[in-house]
Structures are given as structure tokens and as C-alpha cells.
Symmetry: D2
Subunit: 298 residues, 4 copies
């Protein structure tokens, strides 16, 4: 299948000297001035910047800056060290990522393949600027498919009894090098311990209805009440099941003509679109999290 | 304001000989054949027909037919009498409405005016093919506005103590002539007794979120979790609060930049659009209800 | 890759005794009655029916009926013969297709793979109820990918000089067995002669803008005028370039932040969604064509 | 109608000390640093800022800043004077507007009222933070309606012969105090001379199709080709008819069931929504224009 694998040449030209900076801190006078002066004095050119203050009186300040810095690879370490002073002064949580250093993803999947296929398609097309380092599944069904892309596949079965051991093996396989875990219809609950390791770095996707239906068989319930819209929500995983910060949502219209199976089919289509957007935004450092809420600069 | 009142001339030309037929019955062989043969033999020409069977094996059958019948005003009574035989044979719930006989609406409103204003605009523009017979409110705020359209306004205050008496007065004012009650942000719960009088003839509108937020201040909750989409649901009122058959839903995208007030403003815009569609479809006999679900032929 | 190929088991259960009937004819009294009585008397049960009359006075009548007929394989020939009488009486163009006989598709592709990948994904997932009989391309790039699905791939190069010969070879390869040709970003103009062979059976996809941009580089033009929405149109191919009957359209929002490459990327995503819907509707006999317009019963 | 007029109390609390700054200039190092340092040193607190660089190599830089400045009314003049130095250094086009100084609007209308009604509704609801100073029409139909809101109405007839004189009278009536002219379905072409007076300060709305239809009766053409989506475009008026910078667009789905009149009705609904958004963004200083393109920070 090598003929149409394009993941090594992004549609966006490689920008070796570009970096992205994310900042969260309590709002106060002089932050933008201090940061932009700092970058200017270090020879950086700001290419794009977004800023948002949640509640101007004593709220939080969020900023995302893309900048070009000559000889980034050489100079970035110094820039980071120098920035510590400003960061300390304003009590900043911050990060600077090199654009050329692609994020490493581990995709978790169970038996449904639609979200995995979508991510791999975007990756192949060069639209997902990340490295898919591995796929982990509690089933063996996707092995051939995943390996046909040259991506390592790890089959780690999970039962009620082996759950703790399975997570231990997952962490072992993942190692220390993975930036983001994507639950692409992975039908197992993640333990608080595991979540703690990857706080705001595990993205999950699930169907969503308007209104929500409590209890089992939500598609059947939605059908029985004749909903006209079904949707999907991508969010960071927290200890509260499906209650973490929302990254992206989208919907599609349905009608009484759509039976339960067709609602599920439409739901799958929305899920893959919404998950792909959420993963892309994370890999492009577009998401900041504060409490249980995201700020998405897209 | 008379200059731009156009409610007497619909954008759709008056079709004096047109009628609409709605049928629900258990599915079985020969229904379409019997109905269409009946209409043909009575000289009617079918202009549009929609049919839907919920679950082909032993499910329900739903049909909507628009037909033209020469001298409808004279002939319809006979047609209805003759149809009883077929209706009995197939255990049909059915109705035939003349298109030229506009439905009479009573609009209930409290203090928020956006849904009322939207309905009056559509009515003025000739897009809502109905008579707005009266507006009833538990507050007096809208009186001048409503009366400027030449529409009767009834102020019937409601308190916890006077609720039963207020509903008695509402039913008195409404009389026996109203086809549809529209709760255009009417912030009072309707009693089961009242609902029983207007089963599947009371339409309510409320905001909806993805997912739903249980408890008070839903917009604040939605803001705090950073929802990306908010919506509205129009439904028939049943004894279960906001749990009746859904007629229409729609949504709009929002972002972290929208504060709680802006979420509310966007919510109002969706509410008025969704309510207007639901009311229009009801007045055009496009909705059939089965159990807790609608079939909307739009 | 066999593990997740599901094309042999549709999400919709195989319904061996189900058929679909499409009718177009001049409107007149008694059509529905005659057709439904005919089906009833032949033992068929109507599962779903849609009807539409374009302009009630002397317009065209369109109908789609799904019905179940016991022992369809045995009885359908007789039904078709008997129907000739009614068809003649009302000057009908009509067809009856067995649901269990999947349509055979030939997909034409050039170098862009996104539409092809989407169709194959839907096909694998069992959502596209058709047989993909072959892929034809004027380039050899997709061979490995297509053949990995077990689908025959034909490389037929096209140059200005060999165009006529290339079309002759295409028709030869296609043979007499193909129901639908899908131009999945096939970047060659189809000759009138070829179109005539597959009238209303060639579906094309192209990007669309609001407003349209005349001349070359439409994405650059769209970028330069700052469009906020880009879209795609799927249509049947006629002699007028990109001017045939529209089957489906959809759009996505964009902003000034999207550069020309990103507009193209978003355009690709819409194209694949829109084309997949159009192809699915054709395979499910949901589309009737009259003059330069479609009636889509979806 | 006074009871529900709320235009004096915005849903967003009055922020007397808030201002908005818009900047366009050739990109180069140090701009953000210089501007943010300037504001900091003048005691301003940046509440929100958006920045965008079109083509990082030698492109244009755009910025929008909302800031709070103590005793703005007293201090703003000095701030503006001091800013001249920076503006000159970076060749900036710039403006600083006080949020508390509402923009003054003149609405032009002909016979169709839907866009006017929508703007007045938003204004009444307090959602449109502007003063509607007058309505000018080439017909007298809306006088009573407009005056019922206490808004001056000027009837200035236009014929082929009197066009020049009519524009002279319009400019006279408008005076020197109007910030924005909204063509709310004003069916007259504006002359280049008039446009020059209000460069990027005249907003027009028109329907849009996918694809565009050249020539007369676009709705009939759209119907005849069976379009599935219709839309509307709001843009600044330039000398090229309907060719100016696009501010906002939106669409709605339609089907073969919608006849030409219904397409027009749906078109009206989209037009009013799109125009209202464009006007709101202009009044909130969210739009920068460069060449024939807008940058909208919304």
C-alpha cells in the first residue's frame, strides 16, 4: 500500500524553525506585553497569536502563540530557560513545542473500526501531523489491518479479573514516549491511576443525544422518542465517566425513517469526524484545559 | 402597522378544493390500495402522498395524503361518511382537514418575547398558514405589542395558590374553537387535566444541550463544561416534563468565547427557529404521533 | 485484511423478497390507486412509498415503492409482465429492482484517493449495499491499494491523442454488466458518446463555492474573496460540463485562518461525504431524474 | 410598544472603560511586543486579543484588541496621540473605538421587510449594540412600522432619471454622523461616488446558490436544477456588483418538494440571519478588510 502513503510530507510545509507556546495563568496587567517583548528580544517572529480571558475581573488568561525563531533547534533550550523568569512572575502554566517534533500517538481500539480507519486515513493523507506509534487493542481483530500500515499492534486482552494487570502491561508497552492516547471506540473504562499518568492527554469519543438518554441502549431510546438530531462528543478523559472537558461536538439530522441500525450508522460517521478534529487540534497544540473546560484556539 | 400585514394572502395560493388526510393504523396488506381506490372513485386527485411503516412485521402504518376534490366544501361530508367503512376495516385513526380552513392558535407566553415575536413575524409574512386567535399570558408585559397586531390578549396571572383557578379561566377563554396551543416560553407547568384536553395539540419549546445537564442553571453548567453546540427541542406536551414526542430540533455552534449571556442569546435564536418550524408543520398536518414518537412528513 | 471486511453482511438484514419500484409519468387521476391495487392483487405488501407531483396542474408524477412479495425470485417476472398494461395506460417510465440483487459499480479514479477510500470504507463496513466490480484509472498509483481489497484494477492511460481509444477500452472492460459508474475524482472529461451509454448512471463529484468562481484556481479565488463556506456537489454527468442534475450537496464553514491548502483539505472531506451519499441513494433506487432535476426520496 | 423595548440596556453590561483597537499593517518583528507594551505602560489591561498573519513571509498582519483603561473618557485622547509614533513606525492602519459609544446605523430598505424586521428585533432585544438612527426607503410602505419604534423614516423615491438627485438627498439626510449603512434588501444599485463615501461601511445581503446561477430568476433556475442547498452572503459593497469582501455566509437544506415560492421563503430566513450576524460583527469592531477579503475575529 506504500503508493499512497504520504505521512512524511505534510500538506503544510515543514517549518523547521516554528514553535508553539501555550500559556495559562491568572489574568493581570502586562502579560501580553511581557511575553511578546520577550519573544521579540530573543529574535522570534510571532506568526499567529490567540488570547482569551475568562471573566476579565480576576479570571484566567489563556494564550497560544506560533512563532518562528532562527535556528530553533539550537536556540530553543536557551529560550525556555530564560522564559522561566516571566513564567514565575505571572504564575504561568506553560509549554513550548517544536512544530517539527511530531507528537506520538497510541490508539486504543476494541472491535469497532470506524474511528481507527478515519485516523489512519487522515494520517496517510498527511492531514494528521503526528506519528501513530502503536495501536493497542483488547481484541486481535485489527492486527492485520494495522500492521499493513507498518504500525505496531499490541493485543492486550482485558477481563474483569485481569484489568489491573492489563493496564500495567499497557503502560509498559506505551513506555515514556507517548504524547497522546486516543480511545478510538475502546470499550473499557480507564482506571483513575492510568488517567493520572495522562491527565488531559487521553481523548475519548462517544455518541451524544439531545437530550441525553439515561440508562442502556441509548440509540433505541432515541429512536423511541423520535429524535431529529444525533451527535458525538470528543473529550478528555477524567475520573467522571464521559464527564471530562469537551473538545469538540457535531451533529447530523435524522428522521423517523431511520431505524435503530441506521441511527447507529449515522452515529459512527459523526464519531469519526469529531474524533479526528479533536485529535488534530491536540496535535497542533490548540487546546488548553482549565478546570473542566477547554479553550480551543482553532 | 397595517401596511405590511399580509396574513390574508398566503404565499401559497389559496387552494379551496384541497384537503389533507392523516392515517395511522396497524400495518397490513391492501391499505394503500383501498385508500387510493376510494379517493379515485370519489373523484379526488392525489397531489402528494407520504407513507411510512414502522417495522414491516406487525408494525404501524402512517400515511399523509394531499388531494384535490372538485367542490370540496359540498362533497367533503359525504366523503368522510363513506370513508368510515374503510377506516373501520383497517382500525384506522384518521382525520381529513380542508386546507382552506386555517387552524386556530392560542399562544401562551410569559415574559420572554422572542418566540412570540418570531411566530407573529411568520404570520405577518404569510408564511404561517394559521389564525392566531389569542395570546394568553401570566404577565401583562406583552399586551400593547400583541394588541398592535389586532390580536386579543388575555392576562391570566398564575400563583401557586391560584394555579387550578387560572387553568379553569384559560380553558374558558380558549373555548371550544382552538386547534393548537403554543407554549412560546410559557414558564408554568401544565396540569395533566389540561393536557388531556389538548392531547398532542400543545407544543412546547425548550433549550437542549449535548449532553443534557441535570439540575438548575443549565446554561451555566454548559458553559462550565465548555460545550461546543447548543440546541432547542420542540415537542408535544405530555405528563412527563419535557419528555413528550419530539417534533423538531436544531443546534448552533458555540465556543469558549461565548459567555453565559451569549449562550442564552444564541439559545433564544435557535428556540424561535425550531418552534416556528414545529408550529408550521402542525398547521400543515405534517405530524402523526404514535406512542411517544412523531412521524413528520416534511 | 479479511478480518474486518463485512461487505457480505449488510447492516440491513438481507430481504430476499423485497423489491423497489420507481415510476415517472404525467400526472393524472387514478395512478396511485391503479398501482397499489395492482400490487395488492398480486400479493405484495407495500413497506414504504413516496410520491411527489411536480406542479399539480399537468405536471409530472414520481413514485417510489418498496414492497415485499412472497417468493419474489419466482414471481417477479410475472408481476413485471402484468404491470405492462398499467404502465402503458399511464405512459409510465418504470423499473422494478430486487433488493437482493446488488448493483455493480465501476469506480473511475485519477490520482486523488480520498473519494475512493471513502467508498471502499463504506463498502467494507457494509453500509454501501453494492458490488464494487472494478476500479479504472488513467494512472497506476492505486493498483496495490485497490487490489488489496480483492477488487480488479484496470490501468487505462489517457492522453489527448488516445482519448477515443481509451474510452473504447474502458467500455470493453466495463462490459455489459455495470449498473453505475462513479467518477471518484476522475480528472478526464467524458465524451457524449460514452455518456449516452450510461445516461443518468454516471455520478460525478466536484467542489462548489458560494458564489461560484469562474475560471481557474477556484480555491485561490475563494481564498482571495474570503469565503466563509465551501461545499461539494454530486450530480449525474451530462453533456454540459458540471451542469447535470444535482443529487446531493453539502458544505462546511471555513474562516480567514484557512489557507488555500486547508481549504482544499476541507473540500476533500466534503467531497467524500457527499459522493458517498449520492452513490448510496442511487444503489438504493432513491433517485428519479426528470429533465435536468432529481427527485430524491431519502 | 414601549413595554418590551430594551435597547438601552445591553445584555452585555455597559463597560464604560472598555475600548477596541483594530490594526492592519505589513508583518514584521516586534509589532505585538510594541503594541502590548504601549498599552501596558498606559495602564490598559488587555481583555481579549486576536491576531492573524496572512502568509508569514512578507504578508499582512491583523490585530484586534479589547482593553480596559481607567477613566477611558478622559485618557483616550492622549493614548491615541501617543500611539501615532508606533503606528507610523509600522505603517499601521488603525482605529480605537470606545465600546460605550454605540455605532449609528442607517438602514436602507425597499419593499421586502424581512431583513429590517430582524434587525429591529435584535435591536429591541438588546442583542444589537448600536443605534438605529434612521431608515431610508425608496418606497413609503414601511413608514408606520418603522415610526412605531420611534425611529425616523425618510421616503426618498428613486427613478432612473432621479437616481443622482436621490443619492444626493440620501447623503444629505445621513449627514456626517452615520457609521454604517445597511442595505436590508434595498433594490437599487449604489453609485461609485456614494460607495467611496462609505468604503467598507456599507453592508449588503443577497441570496447565494451552490453553484451560482448566471442571469435572471435565480430561484427558478435553482429549482429547475434541483439544488439541495440555498444560502445567503453578506458583504461590503464595492464597485463590482455583489463582488465585495464577504463577511458572512450561511445555508439551509432544501429538497425537490420545495417549490420556487418555498425556496424564496427559505432564502428570506437565511438572509435575515446572515445579515444580522454581519451587522453585529461590524458594530463590535470584529471585521478588518484587506484588498477584497475580510478577516473576522468572531
Amino acid at each position: 500500500m506504500e503508493v499512497h502513503v504520504k505521512q512524511n510530507q505534510s500538506v503544510r510545509e515543514q517549518q523547521d524553525n516554528r514553535a508553539r507556546m501555550l500559556i495559562s495563568c491568572p489574568d493581570g496587567p502586562g502579560i501580553v506585553s511581557a511575553v511578546s517583548r520577550f519573544l521579540f528580544e530573543h529574535g522570534a517572529n510571532i506568526v499567529q497569536s490567540d488570547q482569551y480571558t475568562m471573566d476579565p475581573d480576576g479570571g484566567m488568561f489563556f494564550m497560544r502563540i506560533e512563532f518562528d525563531l532562527p535556528e530553533l533547534a539550537v536556540n530553543l533550550t536557551g529560550v525556555k530557560q530564560d522564559f522561566e523568569e516571566i513564567a514565575g512572575r505571572f504564575q504561568m502554566k506553560w509549554v513550548i513545542n517544536e512544530v517539527s517534533r511530531k507528537k506520538k500517538l497510541a490508539i486504543f481500539v476494541s472491535k469497532e473500526d470506524h474511528c481507527l480507519v478515519e485516523l489512519l486515513w487522515h494520517w496517510q493523507a498527511g492531514d494528521l501531523d503526528a506519528d501513530i506509534a502503536m495501536v493497542i487493542s483488547n481484541h486481535n481483530d485489527m492486527r492485520t489491518y494495522v500492521e499493513s500500515f507498518g504500525i505496531p499492534f499490541h493485543h492486550i486482552p482485558v477481563t474483569a479479573d485481569t484489568k489491573q494487570e492489563a493496564e500495567r502491561r499497557q503502560l509498559e508497552v506505551i513506555g515514556s514516549d507517548i504524547d497522546l492516547i486516543v480511545l478510538a471506540r475502546y470499550m473499557q473504562i480507564i482506571s483513575p491511576t492510568f488517567i493520572e499518568h495522562y491527565r488531559n492527554r487521553i481523548i475519548n469519543i462517544h455518541h451524544s443525544f439531545l437530550p441525553a438518554f439515561v440508562g442502556g441502549k441509548p440509540y433505541a431510546q432515541a429512536y423511541n422518542r423520535g429524535v431529529k438530531i444525533i451527535g458525538a462528543t470528543a473529550h478528555y478523559v477524567t475520573e467522571e465517566l464521559d464527564g471530562g472537558p469537551i473538545i469538540e461536538q457535531d451533529v447530523q439530522r435524522v428522521s423517523h425513517r431511520d431505524n435503530v441500525n441506521e441511527l447507529k450508522r449515522i452515529g459512527r460517521t459523526i464519531e469519526r469526524v469529531v474524533l479526528a478534529r479533536a485529535v488534530q487540534w491536540h496535535t497542533e497544540d490548540r487546546i488548553l484545559v482549565h478546570q473542566n473546560k477547554t479553550v480551543v484556539f482553532n
